[in-house]
Amino acid sequence: MRLKLKLATTAAMALGLTASVAMAEDVEVLHWWTAGGEAAALNVLKEDLAGKDIGWNDMPVAGGGGEAAMTALRARVTSGNPPTAVQMLGFDILDWVEQGDVLADLNEAATAENWDAVIPAAIQKFSKPNGNWIAAPVNVHSTNWVWANKAVLDELGIAQPTNWDEFIAALQTVKDAGKVALAHGGQPWQEATIFDSAVLASGGPEFYQKSMIDLDPEALNSPEMVAAFDKMGQLRGFVDDNFSGRDWNLASAMVINGEAAFQIMGDWAKGEFLRAEKVPGTDFLCFRVPGTEGVVTFNSDQFVMFKQDSPEAQAAQIEMAKAAESPAFQAAFNQVKGSVPARTDVSDEGFDDCAKQGMKDLAAAAEGGTLLGSMGHGHANPAAVKNAMYDVITAHFNGEYDSATAAEELANAVEGAM
């Protein structure tokens, strides 16, 4: 009896083992949502697929906002073993499109679920680059947000600023009161995040489009760009001395603890506030960077699908794409992640006030053509250009260039990187 049982267990184990290796209906997913809430949020998708008998082979690689994952991806593709789906951002997707025939075709799922109508065109630029859907956008983060400690503002009698000058005045008031006005971490991507807003605030959406997206050399080295760098210089004056190298989480913590008043950061910062049990509207405020209202600079995480050989794997891939775009998943995932759904037709029920605002802004911006890819997060121009821009922005922020030189260097750097 006991032996029989043992045999049965062994057999079951052996079966289980082969099943997990050989079962064709598995998806393998490379991503960098590796820790805490965002990883838990991804589990929603995993469970959903499990309900359809599709296994999930997780392949998380964190580090440098996906840089380590992109290196791993290159190794995987080179070794002829591409994952089913890869979390990817903006121009990285387009770079892979150029590599020839490595991506899958999701048109079947897209047509069935009518993605064309519900996903903003600015995002389709990445998910449907040559008229074919190759990626399933999961969320939209927007980067031109200010996070503020309400208690600090109330104490100092500061109202929510509505334009750039008011914002600067508010920062000055905080600084005069002996607090850190702007919590910031000196890492290139954080400076570039602020720069997105500085460009918008000085030249408006058309100028942003021309300089950051179309990379027009004249726009890059223009009085508006000098003004944008001047705005960076203004903000630099409100940052504390120890900003260099600080993680954004710690900068957020400064606002949460009331050491600092404001932080300019994408909407993922909200997670830190919510976890500290702060309530939007009562404990902290979220509003668009003054001078950029009406515009949304976004970055969107997408699952890019790589071509699979077997029909079973292809079927599983299509199922995964459909599941990722289902309104239920988009709502569940984004409520945890702090971003907003990539589909504009998802109900805002269950989202917090900041997210509700974000969803409204997104829909309006998509409608009005002011939904613009964030340069700081690789949605405005290719990686080589983005990093060349980072170099100049960071150098200027650290006092190496004055604003006029920085604008000139920006144009040169972009030209050099093309």
Partner: protein, 299 residues
């Protein structure tokens, strides 16, 4: 040559003569493919227009021209020179000092030795955050000293573009100076005590004893330490990523981080390969004389 013998040419001897080469061949083959083959491949890539994935269209010396036109590359080379020379010199100095001190019949040597050695066991993926905090003036050492009442204490190097590179040296020295200590300690323990006694009878002071006799006898340990440290310095990558991420600005970029970022995050694999080739040439320039000396001395 020391070991080879000429024995009668029977079957067994022939086999015995071939066996060593046979046993060596897998390692050799692996090395030829995975080291030298890949080096040749990298050299080839450095002459192509490879961007995100390897491409095989030749573009001549264009990548090299671009490489040396980039100010970040010059910075990386200068940084490596500063970092490597300070790192090697300080590690050797501290290692030697600790080894000599520890060799004075110290009580608790068994306790101290592992404390000195353990940092070598940890990668900067493990200790990176702790170091970053420690060096950060806002939360680290400076802040702690202020809280303890030493108000004028200043230690903000990591935030200063001119000094940040030295914080890398501190952390790197922390990691490997204990290891160097062990190498010197081993060397010291290998020295014949009678010889030292004889010298002392001749009236040599402790200082002269070490300067004239002991340190020259440690020459092999110096060489080994130099090679291991040079190799660690050139490969330093985790350290930079963990501590400064190359910042402030790009003030602490090293060739290894430069190469990685151009190859993998900036999608300019050609330029990245060119920088790798320059690095390899630098390594060869240091290593070939060492290897040569090493082999010559054996004879």
């Amino acid at each position: 040559m020391a070991g080879s013998t000429r024995a009668p040419q029977d079957m067994r001897t022939t086999l015995q003569n071939w066996l060593p080469k046979l046993v060596l061949s897998p390692s050799l083959a692996a090395m030829l493919v995975f080291v030298y083959g890949f080096i040749v491949y990298t050299i080839y890539l450095s002459f192509t227009d490879s961007k995100m994935l390897p491409s095989y269209d030749l573009v001549g010396f264009e990548n090299y021209a671009r490489l040396f036109g980039l100010s970040a590359w010059t910075t990386a080379l200068i940084n490596l020179a500063i970092f490597a020379s300070l790192y090697i010199v300080i590690c050797i100095a501290i290692g030697l000092l600790l080894a000599i001190f520890l060799d004075q019949k110290i009580r608790g040597e068994g306790m101290l030795r592992p404390i000195y050695l353990y940092p070598m066991a940890l990668s900067f993926i493990v200790t990176g955050t702790a170091w970053k905090w420690l060096l950060d003036p806002g939360i680290g050492l400076e802040n702690t000293m202020h809280l303890w009442g030493w108000e004028s204490f200043k230690f903000g190097w990591i935030k200063d573009r001119d000094y940040a590179i030295y914080t890398l040296v501190i952390a790197a020295v922390w990691q490997s100076s204990g290891f160097v200590m062990a190498m010197f300690l081993a060397g010291l323990r290998g020295i014949d005590n009678e010889m030292l006694k004889a010298a002392q009878i001749d009236g040599a002071s402790n200082w002269n004893l070490y300067r004239r006799i002991v340190i020259p006898l440690l020459r092999p340990a110096f060489l080994s330490a130099f090679v291991i440290l040079a190799h660690l310095a050139i490969k330093s990558y985790d350290l930079v990523i963990a501590l400064t991420g190359g910042g402030p600005g790009r003030a602490t970029e090293l060739p290894a981080t430069f190469m990685y970022s151009y190859t993998f995050t900036r999608n300019q694999m050609g330029v990245g390969a060119a920088s790798a080739v320059i690095m390899l040439m630098g390594i060869a320039a240091i290593m070939v004389p060492y290897v040569y000396a090493e082999l010559k001395e054996q004879k």
